[in-house]
């Protein structure tokens, strides 16, 4: 294996509650010192109600090694410590305990447009932001035309930034950042800028950089980007390193971890639609009628969808979609010619029978839609249920198979002709 370029050992970062956001005023310090004896007394009292911790560990006991040329994704829910980890590695903030060793020139990209000033022109900002991100003047001179072409702002390069559209500002900002070429690059969720076309371009540029043999550590909520770029992935849960494995495993663990609660309660569902009818429950059942979250390949299953409409006898149709954890739709279920109607008490309960589910083993999410096709969307629920498809003897395959071979399995008949 190649050289270790980042070595973290028991890294931890503690914040005082409230400290991260608020600065102190002398008034508070004085007030605190007056309160201090009282507070001391209170906290010493047994059964004190003031049991709130004064510190939080944003990250703790994080140890890992990263080798030269690896592209490593970091995933986790909001507040799991991803950004803190990057900030500590980028030396923006100091760890509270543990240490890390980094070999080689390191660049960080924790924000797009760091150091931009609205009064300066595009050209001036390119130099300024480049210098702040760690490029030398010669380096910027050399890459200037490339940066401007990448950002597609050639005509406006001598116009003050404040006259740029926000999209143009973002493009220029990313273009500068994308041309940063350190040996180790730390990136925090910056791909989520601009329109889709530009995002694709950014992703392409990142891929190019990664193939150029540089070490990249990046945080993203875009599982597709993680899948496309990473060979390895870290999962942070509540500030701890929970998993360090191949991206597909880490991503499924992360998605399971972050979506499990939401499949239990409809209140946290991500949804859209007019609301004239609302889905209130989505459940996957096996052929015996038991609710399940794990299914064997080739098994029959039922999707039971319950909901409530604004009035009785409301007509609607139903569609469902299986999606991988990378966000790729795999299977579409729609019964176009069958209209349902809400009952006398306005509610409805529908079973969808899916014969012999032939999805490859892995994690899938179920999106459910109710509405009138081509006219109105009543409700569209994303990730209403999660299903883990496992390999079993329902389908006669002797070797382990997984999603990366394909997403759908089919029975085939092969005939030897010669």
């Amino acid at each position: 294996m190649s050289q270790v370029v980042i070595h973290c050992e028991q890294l931890g970062k503690r914040y005082q509650i409230g400290q991260r956001e608020r600065y102190l005023a002398l008034r508070d310090v004085l007030a605190n010192s007056f309160q201090a004896p009282w507070r001391l007394f209170r906290s010493a009292a047994p059964g004190s109600s003031n049991g709130r911790p004064k510190h939080i560990w944003a990250m703790r006991n994080v140890s890992f090694e990263i080798h030269e040329g690896e592209v490593v994704g970091i995933v986790g829910r909001n507040g799991a410590g991803k950004t803190t980890l990057l900030k500590v590695l980028a030396r923006v903030t100091r760890p509270t305990e543990g240490h890390a060793e980094v070999v080689g020139r390191m660049g960080s990209l924790l924000e797009v447009g760091t150091g931009f000033h609205p009064e300066l022109t595009g050209r001036e900002n390119t130099y300024l932001s480049g210098a702040i991100l760690g490029m030398s003047k010669r380096e910027i001179n050399r890459k200037f035309d490339e940066i401007v072409a990448f950002a597609e702002v050639e005509q406006f390069i001598d116009t003050p930034l404040k006259h740029y559209s926000s999209g143009m500002q973002m493009r220029l900002a990313f273009a500068v950042a994308a041309h940063l070429e350190p040996e180790i690059l730390l990136v925090d969720e910056v791909l989520a800028v601009g329109d889709i076309a530009f995002q694709k371009k950014c992703l392409g540029k990142m891929g190019e950089v990664a193939r150029g043999g540089r070490t990249i550590l990046f945080v993203s909520h875009n599982m597709g980007a993680i899948a496309q770029l990473c060979q390895r992935c870290l999962l942070l849960v509540d500030g701890h390193l929970a998993l360090d494995d191949a991206p597909e495993r880490v991503v499924s663990a992360h998605v399971k971890n972050s979506l499990q609660p939401s499949s239990e309660g409809e209140t946290t569902w991500e949804r859209s639609g007019s609301g004239r009818a609302r889905i209130t429950s989505v459940a996957i059942r096996d052929e015996l009628g038991a609710q399940c979250s794990t299914l064997s390949m080739g098994q029959n299953l039922y999707i039971r969808i319950g909901g409530c409409a604004e009035r009785s006898d409301l007509e609607f149709t139903l569609a469902a979609q299986f999606v991988t954890c990378w966000g790729i739709p795999v299977l579409y279920l729609y019964n176009q010619f069958k209209n349902f109607r809400s009952g006398a008490d306005k509610s409805f309960l529908i079973d969808v029978f899916v014969p012999r589910l032939l999805l490859m083993p892995g994690l899938y999410f179920l999106h459910v839609w109710v509405g009138l096709s081509g006219q109105e969307e009543f409700d569209y629920v994303k990730n209403g249920a999660t299903i883990d498809v496992i390999q079993s003897d329902c389908v006669p395959i002797t070797l382990p198979i997984h999603q990366h071979l394909g997403l759908v399995y089919s029975y085939v008949e092969a005939q030897q002709l010669r």
């Binding site: 914040y15 400290q19 991260r20 600065y23 102190l24 005023a25 002398l26 008034r27 310090v29 900030k87 500590v88 590695l89 980028a90 030396r91 923006v92 903030t93 100091r94 760890p95 509270t96 305990e97 543990g98 240490h99 890390a100 060793e101 980094v102 070999v103 080689g104 020139r105 390191m106 960080s108 924790l110 924000e111 760091t114 150091g115 000033h117 009064e119 300066l120 001036e124 130099y127 300024l128 210098a131 702040i132 991100l133 760690g134 490029m135 030398s136 003047k137 010669r138 380096e139 050399r142 070429e181």
Partner: protein, 290 residues
């Protein structure tokens, strides 16, 4: 340069001789001086100064003329009230020359101190996103004020011409006094910018501080008004040495402010050394508290 040529060029590292191994660890102990790193980031220092200059007079109608107008108008007011009315002694110098030669370093100092104090807070977005030695920020704030000083200096030369005075050999010592002035602004700026990051009260205290400090410095009056035996104490205000030094170096009139200067130099050395240590101790927490 054509595209094909560009690809042939070897990649240039931004930081010469980057340390092969970087250790990231919790802050330890009191003293963690890393001045060599500041030197490695000198290009960024240049860019910060350049940006300050670029944006200082953006969207003002008369632009850099402000650099001239501010000391010039103050000089007129001082000459009228302290000079023509209060008849403050001026070593036989014309009042406009007497006041302008002191306002030049004073205005620089007041401006530089203001910039340096607010710089850590103003640059919080950058501080929370990118690493660089934070010392670069107050350093840039202090250096960018020198351009205004240079413009004001040219005006002073014109005034001397008007009064039929010629610069004496003492003017060769001006860079020394200038350096002392820059270091004073830096020393105080280091303390105040680090404090301002934690206690925003500093922002409100500063205007008073600058006002009081001016009356504690020989701007509106000569230091000869201060009794001889208290002169050394007076000199502990480094700006006293700087301003008297400027006046003496620019006009060549009067005595060199030896005693004053010695006390001022000593005070500056302590101020800057303490400021650097305090600032570098606090900088580890800037990103968390700003």
């Amino acid at each position: 340069m054509s595209v094909t040529q560009q690809t042939v060029l070897p990649p240039t590292p931004a930081l010469p001789a980057a340390p092969p191994l970087l250790r990231i660890a919790p802050p330890q102990g009191w003293l963690e001086l890393n001045l060599r790193e500041v030197w490695e980031y000198r290009e960024l220092l240049y860019f910060f100064v350049w940006r300050d200059l670029k944006i200082r007079y953006k969207q003002t109608a008369i632009g850099a003329a402000w650099a001239v107008l501010q000391p010039f108008l103050t000089m007129i007011v001082f000459s009228l009230f302290f000079g023509a009315l209060a008849r403050i002694p001026s070593h036989g110098l014309p009042y406009p020359i007497f006041y302008y030669s002191a306002l030049l370093p004073w205005m620089y100092f007041a401006g530089a101190l203001q910039n340096a104090t607010s710089t850590v807070v103003d640059q919080q977005r950058v501080i929370t996103k990118v690493y660089f030695p934070r010392l670069v920020l107050p350093l840039a704030a202090v250096l960018s004020g020198l351009v205004d000083l240079a413009i004001g200096f040219v005006v002073f030369l014109g005034m001397m011409l008007y009064y039929g005075m010629t610069p004496q050999a003492t003017i060769l010592l001006l860079p020394g006094f200038l350096l002392l002035g820059v270091l004073t602004a830096l020393g105080v700026g280091l303390w105040l910018s680090a404090l301002n990051a934690i206690y925003r009260d500093v922002r409100y205290v500063l205007p008073f501080l600058i006002q009081f400090w001016m009356f504690a410095s020989p701007v509106a009056y000569p230091s000869s008004l201060v009794p001889e035996r208290w002169r050394w104490l007076y000199g502990l205000n480094p700006m006293a040495g700087v301003i008297e030094g400027f006046r003496w170096a620019l006009t060549g009139q009067g005595q060199p402010p030896n005693l004053l200067l010695a006390a001022s130099t000593g005070a500056v050395v302590l101020l800057v050394a303490g400021g650097v240590v305090y600032f570098q101790k606090m900088e580890a927490t800037f990103a968390d508290v700003v």
